[in-house]
C-alpha cells in the first residue's frame, strides 16, 4: 500500500476517533441513564422510534465506527498476526462495509 494511502488511513483513524470520543461519551451516559430501573423492549422503542435527532446521532456514530474499527484491526492483524497484503485489505474493506450496513440497519430498526 502506498505511503499516501497509509497517511490517509492514519488521518481517517484520528478523525474518526475524535468524532467517536464525543459519540461514546454520549452513548455511555445514555446507557447508564437508560438501564436504571430495568428495560422492556416496548419502553425502549417508545422512547426511540421517530426520534430524528437520535437517528442522525447514531447514524454518524455507526459511520465513524465503520471507519475506525477496521483501521485499528489492520494494525493488530499486521503487527500481531503478520497478516499483510491484498487479502487483508479486502477482508477489512468487507468488514467495514458489513459494520456500516449492519449498524445502519440497527439504527433504522431502533429509531426510524
Amino acid at each position: 500500500m502506498s505511503r499516501r494511502t497509509e497517511t490517509l488511513l492514519w488521518v481517517a483513524q484520528r478523525a474518526s476517533a475524535a468524532v467517536l470520543a464525543l459519540c461514546v461519551l454520549v452513548h455511555l451516559a445514555t446507557m447508564i441513564y437508560a438501564v436504571r430501573g430495568g428495560l422492556t423492549g416496548a419502553e425502549i422503542l417508545a422512547r426511540t422510534r421517530g426520534n430524528v435527532a437520535w437517528l442522525a446521532f447514531y447514524s454518524v456514530f455507526v459511520v465513524a465506527v465503520a471507519v475506525h474499527a477496521p483501521i485499528g484491526l489492520r494494525a493488530v492483524l499486521g503487527e500481531w498476526l503478520g497478516w499483510r497484503g491484498r487479502a487483508r485489505e479486502v477482508f477489512l474493506a468487507a468488514f467495514a462495509l458489513a459494520l456500516a450496513g449492519m449498524g445502519l440497519w440497527a439504527v433504522r430498526g431502533v429509531f426510524a
Binding site: V24, L73, M102, A106
Partner: protein, 100 residues
C-alpha cells in the same frame, strides 16, 4: 502504566470490534422480543455487559490519551494522562454497575 494502558487499549479495541456485529444484529432483530431482554437478566450476561461498558470506557480514555500525546506538545503529561484514563474507565464501569 503507559505500556499496560496501550496494551489494554488495543485489546479492548479488538474485543469491541468483534462484539459490534453481534450488537447490531441484536438491535436490528431482537429489541421487540422481551424474551431476549429476559435472557440478558442472567448474572453472567449482566457481567459481560458490564465488562463491555468498562472496555468501551477504557478504549475511549486510552484513545483520548493517544490523541493528546500525538497532537498536543505536553509529553511530560504521559503518566498523569494514563492514570486519568484508567480512573475514568473505572468510574464509568462503576457507574454502569450501580445503574444495573
Amino acid at each position: 502504566m503507559s505500556r499496560a494502558l496501550a496494551l489494554l487499549h488495543r485489546l479492548s479495541g479488538v474485543v469491541l470490534a468483534l462484539y459490534l456485529p453481534a450488537h447490531f444484529w441484536v438491535l436490528a432483530h431482537a429489541l421487540q422480543l422481551d424474551s431476549f431482554l429476559a435472557w440478558t437478566e442472567q448474572p453472567a450476561v449482566k457481567f459481560a455487559e458490564w465488562g463491555l461498558v468498562t472496555l468501551l470506557a477504557l478504549h475511549l480514555a486510552g484513545g483520548l490519551r493517544v490523541l493528546v500525546l500525538e497532537f498536543l506538545p505536553w509529553r511530560d503529561w504521559a503518566k498523569g494522562l494514563a492514570a486519568l484514563a484508567a480512573g475514568f474507565a473505572i468510574a464509568a464501569g462503576l457507574a454502569f454497575a450501580l445503574a444495573l
